[in-house]
Symmetry: C3
Subunit: 165 residues, 3 copies
């Protein structure tokens, strides 16, 4: 049921509201922390929002941007819902789009068996950038930050970098 014109020009209204302009002209600050993970399974989705909030408090930064990125190329940082049914759906869906087996289907799998993890991470994304407003993560009502592990069972890292004032 694809109606092409549904897919364009279908706005009732775009409103602007909740403007907060800031122009304090402060000095720039930066902050860096690594979060380390060791996931006992091959795959896992872990809510790291509280960890990132702690970093933000430690930084003392009130206005700026937070970058949260996987430092490994078989893992992801992404924002979505913290709901177990959905996480199961992600697992089934990613296996369909980029199946782990047969491992022989991938040329990358010579000494390793994680080619699918490199592909899955492209769909889920490497990083998120989140606004910092009045000292808080400026997230929507259901937005939660996740570490997506697709080739676990070893120590891996996420980088939290905050710049602002």
């Amino acid at each position: 049921m694809i109606a092409e014109n549904n897919y364009r020009c279908s706005i009732v209204r775009i409103e602007d509201c909740l403007t907060t302009e800031k122009s304090s002209g402060g000095a720039m600050k930066s902050y860096r922390k690594e979060l380390w993970f060791e996931v006992p399974t091959r795959r896992a989705l872990i809510n790291i929002t509280p960890k990132v909030e702690t970093c933000l408090k430690e930084s003392g930064i009130k206005e700026g941007l937070v970058l949260v990125n996987a430092m490994h190329i078989t893992a992801s940082v992404f924002i979505n819902d913290d709901e177990p049914g959905l996480h199961h759906d992600f697992e089934v869906w990613l296996e369909k789009l980029a199946p782990h087996e047969p491992v022989s289907q991938y040329r990358h799998n010579v000494a390793e068996d994680n080619a699918d993890a490199h592909l899955k991470r492209q769909i889920m994304g490497r990083e998120v950038v989140v606004a910092v407003t009045e000292g808080k993560l400026d997230l929507g009502p259901w937005e939660q930050i996740f570490y997506g592990e697709f080739d676990g069972r070893r120590r891996k890292r996420v980088l939290v970098k905050i710049i602002g004032e």
Copy 2:
């Protein structure tokens, strides 16, 4: 027709040009606005480039970064072409990769029927970060910023956060 060696080492040249170095050492400024949407259909792609340009003018920021992100996890902000044929292709393609129906195929669909929207948004992405140069969005010739709605018919928001000087 996959030629592996086509896929690597196939550059004729990488040139550098159009350098603009800035080192004015100004004070950091920040700006925040929410754009609200109420899309009457389940799905829609809406060009929000003029809205983001207006935000940038309001901010007075000349050099920096703009973050534009969906604040809802069944929507996307992405950059691509403003061409109706392509938007139709996106609709068909996303339905193929993450079909809405049957809704019973997803465990997330208990009280809701929007699991596919959570998946579609992972492919299209949550956010874009755009450079600000000389007071303008530093976009390529065909780059346009879109709000991608995948579970509409209610009020939803996009965040525009600008930092710079």
Copy 3:
């Protein structure tokens, strides 16, 4: 072999370490450069990490963020492994998810034949944001920045924008 509970709550430990807090309060600087490409084939993956490192050195910025984005909507900038087998896997996988042929399957392909390139780039992503720490790209051990060309044989650009202090 999908074990739902494998997919959640499976952390052994999340450790924090390697904290580097910076609060120097310096003045903000910015830097911009375009990298130009002319790829003789339709598709190619090109490691641009050394180019971005050169930009960072030129900028003199020690703490901040680097944005690297394709300025064209049929190309990508992404971070993954510099391994030829994996690049072949990406090629096969992207052709499966968003096939080039038959070109008639896409409505965008009226004067052009690159609809698939617009789709492939959504999976691979438009941009990366990388932290700058102590004057260096703050990348994990295997992270390399790539330009992904999906509709080459003409001049196209990547933008490098750095802000920080």
